[in-house]
Amino acid sequence: MEFIFYFGDVFSPLSFLLLLGGTIGGLILGATPGLSPTMAVALLIPFTFHLEAVQGLILLGAAYTSTVAGGAVSAILLKIPGAPANIATTLDGHKMAKQGQGAKALQLSFLASAAGGIFGVLLLIFLTPLLAEWALAFGPSHLFWLAILGVTVIGSLDSASVVKGLLSGCIGLWLATIGFDDIMGAQRFIFHPSLGGGINIIAALIGLFAIPQVLTMFAKGRRTSGAEVIEVQKHSVLDATRELLRRPRALGIGTITGSIIGLIPGVGGQIAGLVAYDQTKKFSSEKEKFGQGHSEGVIAAEAANNAMVGPSLVPLLTLSIPGSPTAAVLLGGLLIHGIFPGSDLFDNHPDVAWTFINSMLVGQVLMCLFGLYVAGLAARVAQVPQSVMAAIVLALSVFGAYSVQSSMGDVYVMACLGIGMYFLERFGFSAAPLVLGLILGPIAEANFIQGGMIADATVGKSAYFLTGGLNIFLIAVVVASIAYSAWMELRSRRYTTKEEAQA
């Protein structure tokens, strides 16, 4: 119950102001189609340099939580999900809005988001210390396999093609080796002076997540958002709360599904929302109402996508393995302040760890309170032409990348990686495993070298890295995740081929 001692720190004036700003800003950014939560958090990182580590994390955590919830606004009022996590919300939320129940749908979505989110953060609070303690038993070989596991799980589960997902992870791991070698001081892959210091993670994150979005907006050409905001009538929050309480099954299924999916690295909010929606429909006595503007659909989807936020940080804060691309960006936010997740975080920086986690709990309540007031404004922002959004994101990316080390080299790296990633994405590659490779590469290499030295002095490399219960378990999970994803890919391809044949 250590977290209780740090609750007061969340309410220090600057921390609370950042939490409030991050929440409101996140709600607006989340409602803007094309601005994903990951990109929003990546663009915010440069603003945290001048803050204390804990304050920076509060801002990033608030933005993460509220962008996921804010995406429901455009999903309900514009039929455009603000983020992939809100796709399931669109199915019933927009129908409700068209039937004149827009305010009710928004209220239900924010209330369900808060309920799911609070449960998810409580899970984070109680699971994290246990796992962090367990992580103390990890040696270099286990940490090496954990880093590889982080890349392969996201590479295989988060990509449409397993091979291209794993290849993206390899590209990320290779990019992480650019620069001077830590032990020998040798130059590695320095093709340009800008790469002398290696690839700066923050500049890379901004480039990989923001620039492809900018180019995607350019590729759409001159056009308006094409979406009309549905006006909302007043609706009592009390009635919405009663409605939520009358639907405990949808809320329960959404919350539990989201929490479980959040704990699995690489699966993400989009899946959480859709699986929860599907399961709630299966167990509902009003199946026929789903897709027609049923409140249970909104409750299940929103409870799930916010419930996954807290648990998705469990592997990050305990084992340094980000469970999602946004968690990877948060890891970047921790590393720039010289803080490494794991037992070190809870032993040496408990104030940072617990204040951050507590702020996410308070942030859920603020998000629910402000969500309804900001919804109207957020929906208007979502109508801003893509040309304006693209130009704003591009300028923010350039300034953000430059401000990391006041270096034009970082801006060039950001732009090159971003443009390259846009084309790679068009060919079926994915940014998430590449980012994971880039972030986990140094951890994997350091433990590979350290483990190699221990192995040379003891049992030999093969025995050190490939034997032992935990090593075998981790290798088995790596193999299983790849095999499962490959099987799913083959199955879906066969299914598609059959469907095509029938058509």
Binding site: S387, L394, L396, V411
Partner: protein, 151 residues
Amino acid sequence: MNRSQHILGSGLVFAVGISVAWISYTQQPSEAFLFPRLIASVFAVLAGWTFGKAVMGFSKVGSGVSRTMFLNMVPGLAVMLAYVFWAAKALGFYTATAIGFFILLSLYDPAPHSEGKSWVRRALITAVFVAVMYGLFAKLLSVYTPREILF
């Protein structure tokens, strides 16, 4: 997406993979390239597999870049490249941002070019945005950016 785009994309990745593997196995000191060698081997094998699939016409994932998309994107990409690789340093960040922002708005804003009102609106949005960026980065965060002309 047509096969040639798949071949071109995966071919480039394969070329990078082979280059990385070649450098990793030939550069000295070899101890410094121990981990890159491990990564590069997997990288080259997976890239070869992807390239092989593309050549055989089995690549299915990825929708490529259509002609319309490419033509839509080219002007914006050109402005982006000029802004990042030349103007930001040569003209100064804020001047380059103002010019780049205004050009991008003019290129992609759906409002008609024939109306004077649209141009005034674009100029106003640009001015407000650059003022906000200046306040945020120069004043609030004290980031010193290259300032060659104007500010």
